[in-house]
């Protein structure tokens, strides 16, 4: 309970000012297409040069939590996920916004972010030493099986056909191999200069989700301007609170899987939302409603991606190993003040470490309050005429994909992938499995190669990849997941026939 005594530091005027500034700024940066939480936090680092360590970290902590949630705003309103964490939010959130229920979607997103986020930070406060061991338990072979497990999830994710889902996933995994091979430095599948740097994940996300939506609006043509007829429903907050807590299953699945997956270094943050979404769908009696604007989808995805925030800092704070790119940036923020994270961080620098963590707790609440405040205005986006919407989203996609690393190549890749995705979607392929493939491909590949190298020096490949409790457990889950998908495919066929 030591952390309680450091709340005082968070409630000083300057801290509160930074906390509010960091939260609001983080939400705006997070909602900007192309600006991932990592970049947003990196942008704020120079400000902390001039602040005291504790104030600098309060700013960074608040910004980190709110950028992740801010990504939900553009995911829901514009169907542009700000970061891989928000992919799953677009699936149901945007469907709600189109129906004029943007306020409801945003309220649900921010409330479940709050629940997940607070749970994650509490885990960080109380279970850090235990969790650190868990984070270290994942070696190359386990990460490889985890990636394979993700691949098996692909089939059932947002696709009416398991085979087409898997096919979309394999297209994604192939796209991820374009560019330099990270281990050997050999060029693969580079047919055009724009592909020299490979397919940037953020640019690809923007293209794969935003462009099909723009083209769909174009395809409706100029006769179809009945958008003004969409009624933007005011959605009372109390109803949203009630809805979030009545969807206990989705909320629990999201929060727990987000916290567990968030811990795993190098993997967690990107896939937590998608995995939680998929699990919530599998356990839900209303599977068919997922993807059409179902509240469980938004709740599971958003509680998961904020639940991941706290645990993702465990390896950083205890072992000084940043488990995600954002954690790496935060490490920089600690180092410039001469604070070395490690097992004794809380003994040596409690006056910095605890206010930092506490600020993430308070930050969650501020973020939720501010997010809900803007929700009712933001929802009016559904009434914006499609001609304006299409042109505006296209422009945002171009600026956003360019600003990721100031590269025209990324913009070309974004547009090309997006146009391709539009046509693929018309024929039953879908973007979410493709993106998951794009994320998981490199994880599977690099861990497979590392594992093989270690195995060759040790007892051989089979021994390395197929022994040990964690390996066997993961393999068992993979088998169950494949079995489940096959069963669904057979059932679908029966229903169709």
């Amino acid at each position: 309970m030591e952390f309680l005594s450091y709340f005082g530091e968070v409630f000083t005027p300057i801290s509160m000012l930074l906390l509010i500034g960091g939260t609001v700024g983080g939400l705006i940066l997070g909602a900007t297409p192309g600006l991932s939480p990592t970049m947003a936090v990196a942008l704020l680092i120079p400000f902390t040069f001039h602040l005291q360590p504790v104030h600098g970290l309060i700013l960074l902590g608040a910004a980190y939590t709110s950028t992740v949630a801010g990504g939900a705003v553009s995911a829901i309103l514009l169907k542009i996920p700000g970061a891989p964490a928000n992919i799953a939010t677009t699936l149901d959130g945007h469907a709600m916004a189109v129906r004029g229920q943007g306020a409801r979607a945003l309220q649900l997103a921010f409330l479940s972010s709050l629940v997940g986020g607070v749970f994650g930070v509490l885990l960080l406060i109380f279970l850090t030493p235990l969790l650190a061991q868990w984070a270290l338990a994942f070696g190359p072979s386990h990460l490889f099986w985890l990636a394979i497990l993700g691949v098996t999830v692909i089939g059932s994710l947002d696709s009416d056909s398991v085979v087409k889902g898997l096919l979309s996933g394999s297209i994604g995994m192939w796209l991820a191999t374009i560019g330099y091979d990270d281990m050997q430095g050999v060029q693969r599948f580079i047919f055009h200069d724009a592909l020299g740097g490979g397919v940037n994940i953020i640019a690809a996300l923007i293209g794969l989700f935003a462009i099909p939506q723009v083209l769909t609006m174009f395809a409706k043509g100029w006769q179809d301007y009945g958008v003004e007829s969409i009624e933007v429903q005011r959605h009372p907050l109390s109803a949203a609170v009630h809805e979030v807590f009545s969807r206990t299953r989705a909320l629990t699945i999201g929060t727990l899987s987000g916290s567990i997956i968030g811990l795993i270094p190098g993997v967690g943050g990107q896939i937590a939302g998608l995995v939680a979404y998929d699990q919530a769908k599998k356990f839900s009696p209303e599977k068919d409603k997922f993807g059409t604007g179902h509240s469980e989808g938004v709740i599971a995805a958003e509680s998961a991606n904020n639940a991941m925030v706290g645990p993702s800092l465990v390896p950083l704070l205890t072992l000084s190993i940043p488990g995600s790119p954002t954690a790496a940036v935060l490490l920089g923020g600690l180092l410039i003040h001469g604070i070395f994270p490690g097992t004794d961080l809380f003994d040596n620098h409690p006056e910095v470490a605890w206010p930092f963590i506490n600020s993430m707790l308070i930050g969650q609440i501020l973020m939720c309050a501010f997010g809900i405040y803007i929700a009712s205005f933001a929802a009016r986006i559904a009434q914006v005429p499609q001609s304006i919407m299409a042109a505006a989203v296209l422009g945002l996609a171009v600026f956003g994909s360019y600003s990721v690393q100031q590269s025209m190549g990324d913009v070309y890749v974004m547009m090309a992938l997006g146009t391709m995705m539009y046509f693929l979607e018309r024929f039953g392929y879908s973007a979410a499995p493709l993106v998951l493939g794009l994320i998981l491909g490199p994880i599977a590949e690099s861990n497979f190669i590392q594992g093989s190298l270690i195995a060759t020096a040790g007892n051989g490949q089979f021994q390395y990849f197929f022994s040990g409790a964690l390996n066997l457990l993961l393999i068992a889950v993979v088998v169950v997941s494949i079995g489940y998908s096959a069963m669904m495919e057979i059932r679908n066929r029966r229903v169709a026939a």
Partner: protein
Amino acid sequence: MRKLIIGLAAVVLGMAGVAMAGNYPDRPIMLMVSYGAGGATDFQARIVTMTAGNEDALGMPIAIINKPGAGGRVGWNWFAKDAEADGYTLGAYNIPHFIAQSIKGGVQYDRDSFEPIANWGADPAVFIVGKNSPFNSMADVVAYAKENPGKLTFSGAGLFVGHHIAALQIEKAAGVKMQYVPTKGGGAAAMKAVIAGDVMGGVNNLSDAYRAREAGNVKILGVADVKRNEEFLPNVPTMVEQGLDVDDSSVNFRGIMVPKGTPPEVIGRLAATVPEMFKNKRVAGKMSAGGSPMHIMTRDEVLQMWKEREEYLGQLLQGL
């Protein structure tokens, strides 16, 4: 609106015209870092450029742009090929990385593609093992590797980067074969592999290893440099002290460069100002707080160093 835009365009073009004539720099400068945000190079680049906007420095802020991928190849390819040689696009270099990669081939740059400005830091590679490892000196490591050829696994941040060069040198000096495991995601991932026990040892940056040791997670067995690091690791012996003929070729030199073709007066202005900017007291304070060794070198010294490294690396990498 159109008129307004044309008018605005005219004003901007007019200003650009003035800018060409002199007055460099008159707008913010961009510094390309070919590693991700949060990596050691990125972190240090942000610190050493933080005073660029001061009047006694460049008078204009420097913004960091990350172009990570394939051990730096993606960023440096872009820098050699697409970056404008106007003095507003700077790049961070890592030696021996980019020279080793250009010798290995498959990239669009070599030593002649870039013009160095100044060096800010030198981060030697060190050999680390987990805190519970039976190895307590390089001699233990070499003895184990001699008995079990190819069985000793050790991690590093990729192929043809400083860590890999150190690994090759250690293997060559000891006359042993070990299993080098390159990781993806820089030094942090390689460090995690050592702490978690995925591998038996590893090569890592002195700054990161120092922090990991402070946190009680690793033991540092040797420094791959010509002399000990008195500031951070005064009691860790060098490789040479332990009988391994390993020099400072793997030391990760970090500094600023511009693309070939940048006007000589711009290079002159930068080469005169940037080393002074690095000497700023606040910069030195922040660098030392983070455990990052500084090593300031002028343009001429860097040119010489690049040349020496290229000659040596050409020999080391021959036949690989």
